[in-house]
Amino acid sequence: MGPATGSQRRFPSGAEYAEALQHTQLCFHHPELRGARPELTGLGLPRPISGAFASVFSLTSPSSGRRYAVKCFTRHVPDQERRYEAISSRLALLDPAELSQPWNLGFEYLPDAISVGRERYPVLKMEWAEAVTLSSWLDDNHADRIAVDRLADRFEELTRDLADHQIAHGDLQHGNLLVASDDTLRLVDYDGMYVPALAGLGGTERGHRNYQSPLRGNDDFGVDLDRFSTWVIFLSLKAIASEPALWSRLHEPSGEFLLLTEDDFTSPAGSARLQTLLTHPDRMVSGLADQVRTLACQPLDMLPPLTLAVPRQRATATVITDTTAHSAAAAPGTGGLPSWMTGHVASAASQTQPAPSVASPDRFQFRTPLDAAVAVVWPVMLAVTVLALAMGLSTALFGPAVPMLAAAAFSVFGRARRTERAQTRAVLSGLTAELDQLDDPVKAERKLRKDRAKFDAAETKRTADHPREQSKLTASYHGELQQIEKRRIRKRQELDKKIAGLSAERGKALRTALTTRQSAYVRDRLGRQLIAQNPPYGIGPKLAARLAAAGVRTAADFTGYRTVHNAHYNSVGAQLVLSNGRRIDVQGIGETKAIALDAWRRQLVAAAEARQPTALTAQERQSIDQGIEVRRTRLTAELLSVDAAAEASRTKAQKELEDGQARLTRENTLAGERARQQRQEFSRRAVTLQQNSARHAALSSAAETAEAHRRRLSLLRYLRFLYTGR
């Protein structure tokens, strides 16, 4: 990061360009731009459309009447002119007839075209595209499934065009893909474009965060630059085509993305949006979502081009359009059964049982000898009765009805011996038994409905709880980060304060050291002044000897004196104060002598102080500076470690978040699996229930028939049968 160089000059800001464009007859030389009319804002100022590197203005040429988009650069881009030349000549090679749609827009790089302040800067003069951005097109058209699906395919064709010519755009996103009125795409903003002639130059941008692989770095610049973003955009368009409601569910009204954002790529496990797409019932959507999830953690040069995935799907489409209904039925999503269902459906079909046949006889057939006998008994008994009545032999012994009753009893016996009755009864009881075994279908259905409703309520709650749990986790993560940041800032401020205080500390240390050095010097000087050799006024050798005996030999041995009042005698004496603070009486030292001693000492002190050192030696100074430097180094290291510790805490919090998210996802997957099993179980119950209810109806009607048959085998019918055989 050296000093400013010519190639890194500061560019004007967007507002500076807007100001210059108030006078296009002054700022431009170019014949078509000079005096061009800029589109204005409501305030009457040139209206910008700004990106990260430039502001674009709409200018209408007074000479040609044509409208241009003029791009004014706000940041230095290395090798800009060379890049645009290479891009321009590569795009010029494209044959419009070979392109899927007229997506490329003409542009002209004009060096030194605009003057701002006292300098001139380049602009890019581009055709004005009458088209809307992909995101606003989706706002208006997302409900039109056919149009969105067609746009997805057009996008895929566009990426194919780019790949065929070894071009990569570098920043495919909702703002750089425009949709024209005929629903074909236009590609704008070629600043970061890769063409083969630029190989080795390096990229100038890293693309929009909500479209790029987490692994895209500064050095990535090659033909595979767009791969991740093409998958992201294709997935989004196909998903919206499959279910337009996803646009309102996953896209935020003013979000700078389609259906997925950066976070969905960096931590797919915690992403509710990606989960929605991964579990989408349309298998093309879930498949593409799975692809994006996988690609998010692969290095850029490992990513497959979008075109690799699509041919298969194209082939399917052809099959659908121009072959028989049979192959169409086999294609996914056109009425064929999902594979996981085939087993279940087939077995359900084979389980249907034959309808119960009512095999019970409803009339008597084939008379037996017993029947013949019964048939004979009736006329005989009738004759007997008639005879008995005629002979008057009646009555008391057996009434005239007796023979008839006997015949009747015999008939009953005969009928009872007929197998038809037993058969009917057996059939009927068989049916009743089977009916008893089947649950009442009405009750069973009510129970199933109740169980289902209960389960659905629980599921609704669970699925609603899941994102809540996730956001709770995220919120606590954010809270944690906030705390970490606050702690970090507090620690830094404390340390900053300590570091800032170091120079004051150094000053203090220097002063203290100097004072220490000075007092040591004075003490040393005083210690050399023997009282005996250089006696103060009034102190003779005798007194000096006494003083020496008491430990006071030099001026350094005492610090002063104290007067002592003796109240008894109203006399005043003196005590010498030793350098250790102790006070002593020395015979012969009264107040006067003490004052003399003290004055002598003061004089010596003053003399010593006058010659005491006034500065520290370089060595002393250096040792103090070293001490301070050590402290500074330690504090600075601490300062760095604060950041490192914060980073560690953040990593830990991130890890906890990821663990929590992974746990939630695991639980959710498990619960989802359980729910799926439960729902399957419900479906199985419903199928059984349907079968049972049909069976129940069949059985009931069979039982009714059997009962009717049973009723038809009456005594009267039997009697008729006896004589008619029918």
């Binding site: 990061m1 000093p3 400013a4 890194q8 000059r9 500061r10 800001s13 967007g14 507002a15 807007a18 100001e19 108030q22 002054l26 030389h29 305030l43 009457g44 100022l45 209206r47 459309i49 700004s50 990106g51 990260a52 590197f53 502001s55 706000t74 940041r75 230095h76 003057s115 302040g117 006292r118 001139r120 809307v132 996103q173 703002g175 990229g203 100038t204 941008e205 890293r206 693309g207 929009h208 500064n218 935020e252 003013s254 979000g255 700078e256 954002t261 995220t474 919120a475 993560y477 954010h478 809270g479 980060l481 906030q482 940041e485 606050k486 970090r488 800032i489 401020q493 900053d496 800032a500």
Partner: protein, 278 residues
């Protein structure tokens, strides 16, 4: 990594300008034609607001990537916006862009393309007028900002943290502002602590400096205090400053001494990301 959150309409951030309006701001300041400090500062604010509006202008108009407050401090502390936005503190940027107090015509010398200069009139939108009256209650101003910052971090706990930009001649009259500044930057979102940048407009001389990494070359204790209060530049901002040819290091701070502060708007990343310089 802190300071990497996306600035978007659903996750906007706030920029709070604090403008010194004390009597001392009526003092003249250097240059060939001396200007009042208050004029310099009001001009900087108006240009910053224009710059922000242009940066966030898209096809359909200005997007609310930012909410902006302009707080003056002098005889009183409160919103310094004039015109339709008078009295408001945090205002969505689209409203700011559409509602300047007025549009002034200013004369400006521009190149005539033939090596000469020609004087023309340019339209210049204004949101606030220069004021110089009263003391310099910088502590109170910072406390006001702290209130706005605290509310914002609570509302958008995951977003890019608020940015407070203080424009002053440095002489606080209600005590050392360091503690109040620390209180502002003690608020944080999950993406990082609030940022405090300072523009020091001073007649004390010395070299004009933008985004220095040490206080050594600063001429007086006011400048050094303001440098000490300023947040270190987050890494992507450092990278941008470096791409403009400035010498930056780990300790580069958001402090500008007698120089243009409007470049700070270019430091804010929206949408497509630039490659970082190494």
């Amino acid at each position: 990594m802190p300071y990497t959150a996306e600035i978007s309409r659903s996750n906007p951030t706030s920029i709070i300008f604090l403008v010194d309006q004390s009597t001392s701001m009526s003092d003249p300041i250097g240059g060939e034609v001396p200007q009042q400090k208050a004029d310099v500062v009001a001009d900087a604010i108006n240009r910053l607001l224009t710059e922000l509006s242009v940066k966030c202008a898209k096809e359909e108009g200005v997007r609310d990537y930012f909410h902006v407050a302009v707080i003056g401090y002098g005889a009183t502390v409160g919103s310094a916006l004039a015109g339709p936005l008078e009295g408001r503190d945090l205002v969505p940027l689209s409203e700011v862009a559409d509602n300047p107090a007025r549009i002034d015509e200013r004369s400006k010398k521009v190149s005539d393309g033939a090596g000469g200069l020609v004087e023309t009139a340019v339209n210049f939108p204004l949101w606030m007028d220069p004021v110089a009256h009263g003391g310099t209650p910088m502590n109170r101003a910072l406390q006001y900002a702290e209130g706005l910052v605290a509310g914002w971090t609570e509302r958008y706990p995951a977003g890019f943290p608020p940015i407070v930009i203080n424009l002053t001649d440095g002489e606080s009259t209600d005590g050392d502002p360091t503690a109040a500044a620390d209180a502002v930057t003690s608020h944080a979102t999950a993406d990082g602590a609030a940022l405090l940048f300072n523009l020091h407009v001073s007649a004390a001389g010395g070299t004009p400096t933008a985004f220095p990494d040490s206080a050594d070359t600063l001429p007086d204790s006011y400048a050094r205090t303001l440098f000490g209060m300023s947040s270190p530049l987050p890494s992507h901002m450092r990278s941008y400053a470096a791409s403009q040819g400035q010498r930056v290091s780990e300790t580069t701070r958001g402090f500008v001494y007698n120089a243009d502060i409007t470049t700070v708007v270019q430091f804010l990343d929206i949408g497509t990301r630039a490659t970082e310089l190494r």
